[in-house]
Amino acid sequence: MGERHLVPDSLTILQALEYAGYRLIRGVGCRGGFCGACATVYRTAGDYHLKFALACQTRVEPEMQLAMIPFYPGQRATYRLSELAGTPEEVLTLYPEMLRCYGCNTCTKSCPQDIDVLGYVSAIVRGDIRSAADISFDCIMCGLCVSRCPAELVKHNAALLCRRICGRGIAPRSPHLRQRVEEIGSGRFAADLAELRQASPEELKRRYNGRDIEPGD
């Protein structure tokens, strides 16, 4: 972040900042690569390329110059999923700017998850919600792709909408799930559970140790 610090080369970027004395509030979250809080841009000596990483998952390098981008402004459309039909047109009505994409692929190059960002943006543009959901699935919504987009797209929010539409309605629902919810509603298992609830620890142990176990795959 423009300062020079001497740190052990075994550390991650996040650990190196802490080693240098930063007690972080922003730019740190799960510390396991799942939350997108520690998105970082950096350059290394003798290389003009911008590089992108999660600070918690990336080892420091000599002469690395870096800045964390803990937040990047982006609009989120207003909607209630339950009131949407889940059509491709709705996605493009809520996020019309997706049509401004001109395919430069800078987003894909900036993704620390190596997601084919342009691939899912293209899927949204051609109305293929299922592919957009599938390709974007590993997105941690760090916003680095947004920060680099010359068309100013907030694509991770559009992808989230696609995944929610897909989960709610495009993939076929599970008949066994609906049936089980109805069975529970009608009290089918209440007696079994009442019996277990009142069983002595010895009885529970006997049943537990003797229970049949479904073979794995």
């Binding site: 004395g21 510390r31 809080a37 989120r76 207003t78 590993d138 995944r163 229970r211």
Partner: protein, 535 residues
């Protein structure tokens, strides 16, 4: 080649035994063997690492020293500068914590028409829920039932679980899955729409529902998006609670928040309060590394305890058997149990199995600790130890590409350090993962303190002394929803405007004094300090 030459000999043994092991089923341990394994090896049984609480509702109970220090601490809040007469915020239901339980509670309280404020330490969704990989349990297949699920839960919990809480957990489970699907969570499915389900440690049916190995993240980002689409819900980020507020009868009536960016306190008046602050892995019990989120410092337990709530099972923590032991940069981070669900075996330095891979977590963790203490562990290049987890077996058993498809997060995590887990095994060791206990609740998430409700990892009783994989994501949804509903109902009945005092702190200070306890810390901790200490 990522593994140094010192590990090559052991690695070669893993490869050479693989063909034989593919046909080899290590026997499950019997009940007596399991008990002995735990007593001799599990960190919960290391008596010298525990302290006995001297005051409060759990006086006389044992808990890890690190937690005792904070439970018996002085309040962090400087009450002198605080003006309780004109609260900064007013609401029906205040939810403290923005993880899975907090967000589920916010949604159901909002459904009930309550004015909801959700305050959270860091960003909305910054929580252990986001990091849960393996899956979520629900007995929704024809060969399964809530009663079978119940038996697995109490057996895994060593028959100590609160029966009413377990009944609620397993009974609500299928509906919880359906609710998540309605919100747009993408579960892994077969082409006909049926759920792809697998085993977890200690399950007797394949009832683990997954979203690749981003199950928690998929649930969390969906809940977060739904909370953001609710106009009546106010979200306050970077605003952890530093104290609860009570009225003259001892009922909880709000909280004091600390905005971490502005260093300012805000007073929230509420008719009911839900504590959904999660766990405490960042206290690093017994010096263990942790798989937990940066903010998992047990704040909710401290606040509820000072307000008079009783805790349960605070003498038992979960050490996940498979934390990363190498490479050093990600030590302690989680390797999902799904790796074993998919068929990977655990091996010692000689390439031999030593435990059935899908015993419950406490048993597997104990077996790994024992294997290493017997000198059969793998020495990592930085002085640690661990055992092999033979990930290439998944690829052999399930076909080429299976690892990449089922475990994209794991593949990515290791690829960043040049290890291809589809081709090379990995080295793991137990990591501090879950707080089995917490604030004692009933099935409506009531705590015995009027106005105070608790849900999720901050609660205690659901999982007894050991939680099964896939029952934590289930817990946060089931009890988060229950807390939201019951807190909203209770708020509606609370006609009188809540009175705001800090009387319980006066009582707390008097109790510290009368027990002759000089607090050695201030609490809540809020965040751990990993800045370098001058030595």
């Amino acid at each position: 080649m990522p593994y140094p030459s010192s590990l090559q000999e052991s690695l070669a043994k893993v490869v050479s035994t693989r063909e034989r092991r593919l046909k080899e089923d290590f026997p499950r341990a019997g009940a007596a063997a399991r008990d002995q394994l735990l007593k001799e090896n599990h960190p919960d049984y290391r008596a010298d690492t525990f302290a006995t609480l001297r005051l409060g509702p759990n006086a006389g109970d044992k808990t890890p020293r690190e937690l005792a220090l904070l439970l018996e601490a002085a309040p962090l809040l400087d009450t002198a500068a605080l003006n309780l007469a004109s609260p900064d915020y007013d609401c029906d239901v205040l939810i403290i914590g923005g993880g899975g339980a907090g967000c589920a509670a916010a949604l159901t309280a909002d459904d009930s028409g309550s004015r909801v404020i959700l305050a959270t330490k860091l960003r909305l969704g910054d929580a252990n829920t986001m990091m849960a990989q393996g899956g979520i349990q629900a007995a929704d297949k024809p060969n399964d039932s809530p009663a079978i699920h119940y038996l697995d839960v109490v057996g895994g919990g060593h028959f100590a679980n609160d029966p009413a809480l377990v009944e609620a957990l397993v009974t609500d489970a299928p509906e919880a899955i359906e609710w998540l699907e309605d919100l747009g969570v993408m579960f892994d499915k077969n082409p006909d729409g049926s759920m792809k389900t697998i085993h977890g440690g200690g399950t007797s049916r394949q009832r683990m529902h997954t979203s690749r190995d981003y199950t928690g993240a998929e649930i969390m980002r969906t809940l977060r998006d739904e909370v953001r689409s609710r106009e009546r819900v106010t979200v306050l980020e970077f605003s952890p609670a530093v104290e609860l507020l009570t009225d003259s009868t001892g009922a909880v009536t709000g909280a004091v928040l600390l905005n971490l960016n502005l260093h300012r306190h805000y007073v929230v008046r509420a008719r009911t309060v839900i504590v959904a602050t999660g766990g405490s892995g960042r206290l690093h019990y017994q010096g263990f590394p942790t798989s937990n989120h940066y903010g998992a410092t047990g704040d909710g337990l401290v606040l509820a305890y000072r307000a008079g709530a009783r805790l349960a099972f605070i003498d038992t923590m979960q050490y996940h058997p498979t934390g990363v032991a190498f490479p050093q940069q990600i030590v302690g981070q989680l390797v999902t149990e799904k790796v074993r669900s998919l068929g990977a075996q655990l091996l010692n330095a000689h390439g031999e199995q030593f435990i059935y891979p899908l015993e419950t977590r406490d048993v597997v963790a104990s077996a790994i600790i024992r294997e290493c203490s017997r000198g059969n562990g793998v020495q990592t290049p930085v002085g640690g130890q661990g055992v092999w987890l033979d990930t290439p077996m998944i690829e052999i058993r399930r076909g080429q590409g299976a690892v990449k498809h089922e475990l994209p997060a794991m593949v990515r995590q290791y690829a960043r350090f040049d290890i291809d887990i589809a081709r090379e095994p990995i080295i793991i060791y137990p990591t501090l993962h879950y707080q089995n206990g917490g604030v004692r609740i009933d099935p409506d998430c009531q705590t015995g303190i009027h106005g105070l409700f608790v849900a999720g990892e901050a609660s205690g009783g659901v999982h007894g002394r050991n939680r099964l994989m896939g029952n934590s994501l289930l817990d946060v949804i089931v009890f988060g929803r229950r807390a939201g509903r019951t807190a909203a109902n209770a708020a509606r009945k609370q006609i009188r405007e809540p009175e705001l005092t800090l009387n319980h702190l006066d009582r707390w200070r008097r109790e510290l004094e009368s027990h002759g306890v000089t607090p050695a810390a201030k609490s809540p901790l809020i965040l751990p300090d990993y800045t370098r200490r001058e030595s």
